[in-house]
Every structure is written in structure tokens, then in C-alpha cells.
């Protein structure tokens, strides 16, 4: 059971990161909104994962993305931020004793919970990402606009993918 979850997560990491690097890296709507769907991997990590492991995984994922995007540190910081928000949100909404479900997927947790979870995580990630990428306060409003539109786009793709795999994970 445990090794199966690890295998699934490794597979998911490869698939989502290749989609991000091969396909979504070249995509932009009106040169404003670019999706970062790879964060779905961090969203779907199992509930019981220790915090240190979560941070290490986020750090490694961010560093890999940075190597492909030539932006050392930007994705790393954003992923770490996402994991921090994730830990806070899960500790507030899910009680620690009964993790009946192994993973926080849409099928396991219901649409309302998952949508709020994805919304908070996506926007914290994107805020750090775009602010660090621009690294200038003079174009703040423009950066925030890009962040908002890209966040909506990412959220849309994340929830879409979750709905596509909805039934299979439902038990």
C-alpha cells in the first residue's frame, strides 16, 4: 500500500513536470496568463507526510523547474510557500487523528474543500513566483494582474485534471 502510493507520486511527478516543461512552458494567453499546472503534484501529496519531507520534496521540485526555466530560486521559493500554506490549511480543516483518506484529491475531499484548498495554495504560489520574477516594485500592479490571471488559469487546469480523474479515485 505504502510503496504503491510512493510509486504513484513519483509517476505523477514525472508526468506533470514533463507536461509543464514540454507543453505549458510555451503557452500564454494574450501574453499575460501562463499556467503552472505542476503544482498539482504538491497539492496531491499524501496527508501523513512529515513536514520536513514535504519541504524537501517542494524544494527539489522547485529546483528542477528552475533548471528548466533558467530562474534559479524563484520556483523553489514559490513551492516552499505553497507547502507552508498547504500545511496550515490542512491542520486547520482536517483533524489530525482520522486521516481516513490517504490523499487530498477532489474525489476524496469533495469539491468545496478541494476548490478552497487549491485556490489558497495556487495564489500563494503565484504571488511569490511573479513578485520574485519581476523583482521590481515599479511594475507592481502589472505583476499582480499577471499573477491573478495566471492563477485563474492554473486553478482551472488543476480542477479540470481532478475532474477527469474523479471517478477512478472514488471509492
Amino acid at each position: 500500500m505504502n510503496s504503491k502510493i510512493i510509486l504513484i507520486n513519483i509517476l505523477r511527478w514525472f508526468i506533470l513536470l514533463s507536461i509543464q516543461v514540454l507543453l505549458l512552458r510555451n503557452l500564454a494567453f494574450y501574453d499575460l496568463a501562463t499556467p503552472f499546472t505542476y503544482i498539482l503534484f504538491l497539492l496531491l501529496l499524501p496527508f501523513g507526510t512529515p513536514n520536513l519531507i514535504l519541504y524537501l520534496i517542494a524544494f527539489g521540485t522547485g529546483l528542477t523547474l528552475d533548471a528548466f526555466y533558467d530562474t534559479l530560486g524563484v520556483h523553489t521559493a514559490a513551492c516552499v510557500m505553497l507547502v507552508f500554506v498547504r500545511i496550515l490549511f490542512i491542520s486547520v480543516t482536517v483533524s489530525r487523528d482520522n486521516f481516513d483518506e490517504p490523499e487530498p484529491t477532489l474525489g476524496n475531499m469533495g469539491f468545496k474543500w478541494f476548490a478552497l484548498y487549491a485556490l489558497l495554495c495556487t495564489f500563494s504560489h503565484h504571488l511569490v513566483l511573479f513578485l520574485l520574477e519581476a523583482f521590481k516594485l515599479t511594475e507592481l500592479s502589472y505583476t499582480l494582474l499577471r499573477c491573478l490571471l495566471s492563477g485563474i488559469f492554473t486553478l482551472f487546469t488543476v480542477i479540470l485534471i481532478e475532474f477527469i480523474f474523479y471517478n477512478r479515485k472514488m471509492r
Binding site: 503557452l27 516552499v80 502589472y142
Partner: protein, 279 residues
């Protein structure tokens, strides 16, 4: 001491966050600096190799447009050659060997990774230090103007800081009035076909559709076409004009670029470093 440990353990999520987030920020800031020792970028062997493999398909898809641009350039060069041959050289007997006086040499390279959707775009090419590429060299595309400046170099690969980058600042001049300005991209605009020229003095009359060329200051040779003026009435609140131009270069279909090696650049740098540092 034990209480402290319990405290840290209880809020470990926050403390771990601070540690890892700080590492991320430090990496970002260091990456912005000129010196970068860690090669966690696309000049890295693994990443560069992956991009090179991926590029095969894209290259095949773009063969048509690459062919067209090569044919166009060929035609231009042929025309120029005919013009040289057409001169009646019978009257002149003096032959001057000018090969020693060539200041700029071109090196063709293939783009293996490119992006246009980010705030800071980086291009990777398949030539590196072994081909004589150094950091800071200028890069142009075939007949269509500036691409960027070489940033990191590994033995077989190099990255270019594209013009579509917040750090890019290239000295240009307007061809008719010779007014100097600096070419920048971004800042409320992320269209890869448009860029801005800043710091043009107010007294110059700017005409629409005027072409913009490189000025020759910096690492670009003079006279390389950059773009055409499309909007001149941008108010920024300072005493200089800001002009919007349409770039000649289409960054979305960039396949081949020329790296320009300036033979005199070392000499120039050595000479200029002797000057007293005036501020």
C-alpha cells in the same frame, strides 16, 4: 532548553518554512548577480541535452520558415555581391587586403531552447566556450536584428539573456535623427513583438515608421536594424521621450542566431579600465 525544543518542534512547519524560503530567496538574489558559480540552468549537461533532444521535432516543423529566411538572406547577399562585382574595377589597380581589419566575426548557432511567455526570458544555443563564445557577446538573428547578450557559457552550450528580459538594455539610435536611447522590454507590456526606447531627449522630432538601429556603443556593431517606431506619445513623467517600437525580430520562431565576436572588445575594455572612475 527542553521547552524551547518542544516549542520549535510544535511549530516546525513555520521554522522549516523560514529556512527553506530563505534559501530560495538567497538563490534568486544570487542568480541576479553577475557571477554565478552553480550551473542549475540550461547550460547544465542534463538539462541542455534534454532540450536538444526535444528541439528536433520543433526544428522539423519550422523547416519551411527557416528555408524562406535563408533564401531571403541569400538573395540579399547575392545582390550585395553583384553590386561589388558591378563596379568597374579595371580603372582601379590598388588592391587593399582588409581581412586584418575585420572587427566583427559572426558565428552561427542553433537555438535549442527559447521562451517568450516569462518576464525574464532566456535562450539556450548549441555553441559554447569551445567555439570561442564568451559571456557578454552580442547575438543577432539573420537579417532581422538584435536577439540578446550571452550570459552563461559551458563547454558546449551557452545561454543568451534575451531582449525580452528585465535586465536587457541595449544602446540604439533612431536612423533619421541619430538620437540615442536605450532599448528595454517589459514594464506593463509583455508582448514579444513590442519594445520601448527610453531616454531620448525631448527636443528630437520623432517620426512614426522610422527605423531604429543599434548605435554601436556596447557589444553590438553599429547599424543593425531593431524595429520600427509605432507609438511616440507615451508619457512617463520625466524629461525624456519614451517610444514604442515594433521589433523586426520574431522571437517566437527563432531558430538560428549569429553570435558576434568583437576582436577589439578586450582592447577596448583594457583601455577604458585605465580611465579614472568618474561618477
Amino acid at each position: 532548553m527542553r521547552n524551547l525544543w518542544i516549542f520549535i518542534n510544535r511549530y516546525n512547519a513555520f521554522f522549516l518554512f523560514v529556512i527553506f524560503f530563505t534559501i530560495g530567496i538567497v538563490l534568486t538574489v544570487k542568480n541576479n548577480a553577475y557571477q554565478r558559480s552553480v550551473t542549475f540552468n540550461s547550460t547544465n549537461e542534463v538539462v541542455g541535452h534534454a532540450y536538444e533532444k526535444l528541439n528536433v521535432f520543433k526544428r522539423y516543423m519550422n523547416l519551411g520558415s527557416v528555408n524562406d529566411s535563408l533564401a531571403l538572406e541569400n538573395a540579399k547577399l547575392n545582390t550585395a555581391l553583384l553590386a561589388i562585382k558591378g563596379i568597374d574595377s579595371a580603372k582601379k589597380t590598388l588592391i587593399k587586403d582588409t581581412t586584418n581589419h575585420v572587427q566583427y566575426t559572426y558565428l552561427a548557432a542553433r537555438v535549442i531552447k527559447n521562451s517568450i511567455t516569462l518576464r525574464n526570458n532566456i535562450i539556450t544555443i548549441n555553441k559554447g566556450a569551445l567555439d570561442g563564445i564568451q559571456s557578454g557577446m552580442a547575438v543577432i538573428s539573420a537579417g532581422k536584428g538584435v536577439v540578446g547578450i550571452i550570459r552563461d557559457v559551458s563547454p558546449h552550450l551557452a545561454t543568451i539573456e534575451s531582449l525580452l528580459n528585465k535586465d536587457a538594455k541595449i544602446s540604439v539610435s533612431i536612423s533619421s535623427t541619430k538620437a540615442l536611447g536605450s532599448l528595454v522590454w517589459g514594464d506593463r507590456n509583455s508582448d514579444y513583438r513590442k519594445a520601448y526606447i527610453k531616454d531620448i531627449p525631448n527636443h528630437f522630432k520623432v517620426k512614426l515608421k522610422d527605423t531604429v538601429i543599434t548605435s554601436g556603443f556596447g557589444s553590438f556593431p553599429p547599424g543593425i536594424p531593431v524595429g520600427r517606431i509605432s507609438n511616440r506619445g507615451i508619457s512617463t513623467g520625466d524629461n525624456f521621450l519614451t517610444i514604442q517600437i515594433d521589433l523586426f525580430n520574431d522571437f517566437s520562431t527563432l531558430q538560428y542566431v549569429y553570435v558576434i565576436q568583437d576582436k577589439l572588445s578586450d582592447e577596448q575594455k583594457a583601455l577604458e579600465s585605465k580611465l579614472p572612475n568618474e561618477q
